[in-house]
Amino acid sequence: MTAIIEVQHLVKIFGEHRAVNDIHFVVEQGEVFGLLGPNGAGKSTTIKMLTTLLPPTSGKASVNGFDIVRSTTAVRHSIGYVPQALSADGNLTGFENLLIFAKLYDLPRSVRKTRAWEVLEYVGLTDAGNQLVRNYSGGMIRRLEVAQALLHQPRVLFLDEPTVGLDPVARQAIWDHLMKLRQESNMTILLTTHSMEEADSLCTRIGIMHRGQIAVIGTPDELKATVGGENPNLNDVFVYYAGDALESGGSYRETSRARRTARRLG
């Protein structure tokens, strides 16, 4: 096994607030690593630092062997990123959305179109490829975004709460696609979620974040074992490690963003 994401003493401070407070973890190639935690635990901040959107206050991290501060372009070429909000452009067709990103990711002209149709087929959107994304359902937009993140064959796929706001059917479809991807490609996936079910069914390993720190890391089974009791599930693990945070809830900004996403899905 080779480490593909290495995080050492990573810290991010906003003003007085330590959003991420000295975390370290390693993700091996081919893992599906889940960052779990309540709203405001620092998951999104961590993912933003690893995807080079946010410079860390201190500490080090590398993705695919490239330092996230010094080798940003190499990191960006190595990763695919699906942000939390449904961000595909509704005024373009699915195919056009992909074409624009194929260009931004330096795909050679000769393969752009075929590659775009390939990934559309991969996520089951061949028939909808020439429709405006405005007419897609939430689940279809999410699949399109996964397709877009796969265009340039990244080494690591980052997904920030990939199924938030989706209905159960769409959520299941996304899970199926990610499972297929994992089996077929050995691609490394790092996702954030606050759904226990999602973490349990997708992730090979989970890190539970709480107040900017990683409270515990392990496989779903290991984590369940640490809690003890009869037939513990990940919900119990979650409450055990991040319980007091459930009361206080997430920040206003995160809540409003989740609502907006939900509205957009109608």
């Binding site: 190639q29 081919g30 933003k48 995807t51 080079t52 959107l53 946010l54 372009t73 960006r76 070429h77 190595s78 990763i79 990123y81 942000p83 939390q84 909000a85 449904l86 961000s87 452009d89 005024n91 373009l92 067709t93 056009e96 624009i100 990103f101 260009k103 931004l104 990711y105 330096d106 795909l107 050679p108 002209r109 393969v111 590659r115 390939e118 990934v119 991969y122 405006l132 877009q148 796969l150 340039h152 064959q153 990244p154 080494r155 980052f158 991807l181 077929e184 490609s185 050995n186 691609m187 490394t188 963003r257 907006r260």
Partner: protein, 285 residues
């Protein structure tokens, strides 16, 4: 062997993770920068192609200015415009005005895109920040160009004499794109600093009024009080109007004034783009 491995993986779909990246095109730094700015502009052009109602509604305002304000002021002859009619004098000014109005609220679109997560994806892609900013500027230019066509058509209908020399037409289009790029980058910088729609809207409205009236768009600088003349001279819009007037009207005797007009605008735009590229990542932080 490495190469074979790569080729094999490209044929496969997602079956690459254990291998190497797709072979990206190698381009010079400059080619990369320009090519990707062009891609961002293409994105906007494709949007317009699917839905051009926005272009039509935006054309209403300059038409009203020319038809109502222009006609009235032509008749009262209150403004000295030398040997040309007031409508002729005003037409390039109204084009410059619509370029300003289209571009100065570009920052609001940027904040909208931030909320949608589009900017996150752009910033996580290997696209130079400068390209993202220039691309947005070009995109505003794409939205402003149809205004130029509307003004030319309207001027034809109203019987205003316009210069249809192809080189001058080309110069007009370049000036429109440059002006749009300049003002929209300015708006982008405001958006990166203020970060909310309401604030950018407010500042935009506060700025457009003085920028428009403290310029030579609808009256010559010479009739202004001296303190206002100073402001008009440091107002980039004045240089857009001046350049457009030289390029669009038939009474132009010398084109030398285009040199300072373009020089000032290019200079200001370069500074704004550099600043914008520096600030752009802050919008998602």
């Amino acid at each position: 062997m490495k190469l074979q491995e790569r080729e094999g993986q490209r044929a496969g779909l997602a079956k690459n993770a254990s291998g190497t990246l797709a072979l990206p095109v190698r381009r010079s730094i400059f080619g990369n920068l320009v090519g990707k700015a062009w891609t961002i502009a293409e994105w906007e052009a494709r949007k317009i192609r699917h839905d051009f109602t926005d272009l039509i509604t935006r054309a209403v305002q300059p038409i009203l200015w020319l038809l109502v304000f222009g006609e009235v002021f032509s008749h009262i002859r209150a403004i000295p415009t030398g040997n040309i009619s007031y409508l002729e004098f005003m037409s390039p000014g109204i084009l410059a005005q619509s370029v300003l109005f289209i571009s100065i609220f570009a920052g609001i679109a940027i904040i909208w895109e931030r909320d949608l997560g589009v900017i996150h994806k752009f910033l996580a892609s290997p696209t130079p920040r400068v390209s993202l900013v220039i691309g947005k500027g070009l995109a505003s230019g794409v939205r402003a160009l149809p205004q130029a066509i509307v003004i030319y058509l309207l001027a034809l209908i109203l019987g205003v004499h316009m210069n249809f020399n192809p080189l001058c037409l080309l110069g007009t289009f370049v000036m429109v794109v440059l002006g749009a790029g300049c003002f929209s980058t300015f708006s982008l910088i405001i958006a990166c600093l203020l970060k909310t729609r309401d604030r950018v809207m407010g500042i935009g409205q506060v700025l457009t009024m003085p920028m428009f009236f403290a310029s030579n768009a609808i009256y010559p600088i010479a009739i202004m009080p001296s303190w206002l003349q100073v402001i008009a001279r440091i107002n980039p819009l004045t240089y857009v109007v001046d350049g457009l007037r030289t390029l669009m009207l038939t009474n132009t005797t010398s084109y030398t004034s285009l040199v300072p007009d373009f020089a000032v605008l290019i200079g200001v735009t370069i500074v704004l783009v550099a600043l914008g590229a520096k600030l752009y990542p802050r919008i998602v932080q």
